[in-house]
Symmetry: C2
Subunit: 337 residues, 2 copies
């Protein structure tokens, strides 16, 4: 059996804390024996939640009590600096001190991103650690990198995103020789803004990645590329529009189904098959978004994450550790330029 992986889960982060993070912890240790979970947060509250899960092997769930919570609206840099006893700062410090392998939080994105870089620290050679969520496509999933950590990135950052993303897709998702594309406003090589025009030849010349050129946003959902490289502002627009458009379309479709008696009958017949199909297109199914290129692992889950999403993020941490992604990134980050 492989070594136990220790994952800190922020029990106070997200819209559904502490109920969902605690439920995720209980489910994770029950489902897999190679995991220990450490919950950071208010001890009494966590213990009360844990009482619900009588069958979970509690010897693999630990509580590290903390007294502060970083709110989503707080300016992240200040919050990280001031709230030393918050569930986020304490969790990140455990990763830094190698008391844990990974930290998962549904709390303040800004605090997790800033804290990841400032407390856990960048891996040697990594210029900017990107946030890299998996997004669903017609073919499976693609990695969208970067999605929030570094707006106004430079070309060299994007080249590193391509390398780190390729390693992740190959070893975590299991796609051999993953296709890398850069988000562009046209398919032709001469298209692009200043950043893309400067980055394109660097990616083309970069050895060790399978660069297939530009990708127009239209082709992202069809699964045309495995690693989709872009600057964080654009990545954020893609990720958020994905979520917003899917939600609006689904509600339109539900509205159409409820239009009249005939369509309501149809809806009843169709529901199970449709539900199954659309589950494949669920952004929350694939766990959280890792912050790549740190000395430890930090994973951000949605603010609205359910216990299933958080549990999947915990499992993702185990794969990440067992596949030695950080070691591979450190080894390859400066190769092939």
């Amino acid at each position: 059996m492989s070594e136990t992986v220790k994952v800190v889960v922020d029990a106070m982060g997200g819209d559904n804390a502490p109920a969902e993070p605690v439920k995720a912890a209980a489910a994770a240790v029950e489902e897999r024996s190679d995991i220990e979970v450490i919950l950071t947060g208010n001890k009494d509250v966590i213990e009360k939640e844990l009482e619900k899960y009588t069958s979970a092997p509690k010897e693999r769930i630990h509580i590290v009590p903390t007294t502060e919570v970083i709110e989503t609206a707080e300016p992240p840099v200040m919050a990280i600096r001031k709230k030393k006893d918050s569930s986020i700062v304490v969790g990140l410090n455990m990763v830094k001190k190698q008391e844990a392998d990974a930290f998962v939080s549904s709390g303040s994105s800004g605090a997790v991103l800033v804290g990841g870089q400032v407390i856990v620290g960048r891996s040697k050679g990594v210029e900017r650690p990107p946030l890299a969520p998996l997004i669903p496509t017609a073919e499976g999933v693609s990695l969208l990198v970067d999605c929030g950590a570094n707006v106004d990135a430079r070309p060299s950052h994007l080249v590193q995103f391509a390398k780190m993303g390729s390693i992740y897709m190959e070893h975590i998702v299991g796609i051999k020789n993953p296709r890398v594309a850069i988000v562009n406003n046209g398919a032709e090589e001469e298209k692009g803004n200043a950043l893309v025009k400067e980055t394109f030849p660097l990616l083309k010349a970069c050895k060790g990645i399978n660069f297939i050129g530009s990708i127009e946003a239209r082709d992202i959902p069809s699964g045309y590329a495995d690693v989709i490289v872009c600057e964080a502002f654009v990545g954020n627009v893609i990720l958020k529009l994905y979520e917003g458009l899917a939600a609006t379309l689904m509600s339109k479709i539900k509205g159409g189904m409820m239009k009249n008696t005939r369509s309501k009958m149809g809806a009843l017949l169709i529901k199970p098959a449709l539900k199954e199909t659309l589950k494949e297109f669920d952004t929350t199914k694939h766990g959280g978004a890792p912050l790549l290129g740190l000395k430890g692992l930090v994973v951000k889950t949605h603010g609205s994450a359910s216990s299933v999403e958080i549990k999947n993020a915990i499992f993702q941490c185990v794969d990440f550790k067992q596949q030695q992604i950080n070691e591979k990134i450190a080894e390859h980050i400066n190769e092939g330029d």
Copy 2:
């Protein structure tokens, strides 16, 4: 009765030329008596297509023969300069010389955008004419401005986009005091890349527009703002992802409906209601994207435009002319800064 509006239609542009543009011309003059259409392109080919439409009032359809066609793959600046007798250049020159009020093309986006600026020319005071398509939302439509003409725009450009977009939404779509928002990677005022951070206070201080702050991409499909301001690279990503994601989701849903006998029966019952609902979310229903802030009117329709989309674009030109949008833009573009 109002004055007749003269619209040049590029009969050689787009995947479905000349059949769809010619069909659109015939349908437009048949449906409305205040329109004349001038078709630019190969005379013999156009005449042969026109023969199909026996009931159309042909005295309001004219042909201006041209011998060249600009292909989508051609570098636009060179193409505009060299192909003087192309359907695009001849059409744009007619607008420039005020022999026509507007030009509609499904051909090369680059050539139409470059040609619009170089041949027709910018209205006095307009720094960069943006391409502004209407996108469907849960509430109706929003104007996405800019969507392709000017990557790496400056803050002053975005402020002008907001003003021109507001005029368009108020007078063409009929929305009083349209809500203007800037695309951002978070709802808080301190969020953003360098461009957004610099533009935000300018929009806030700008009189004569109803600026409501940042919009996250997640909230675009819900119809949270009427005028959505962004730099063209981001606008292109939003527009293309809208199209791509809607297509992928629809094909997933169709797949789900065909899964088994039960779901197939449901699909039959649901189809009419669903079709009607989804029609509201059709990006092609709203005609083409105007290039705002020119001395005349230039409208770009999808490369794959059907005759219905082109016909709607022709009608849009009539509204644009009758509502004196260009005059209103010229009057207000330097106000309130």
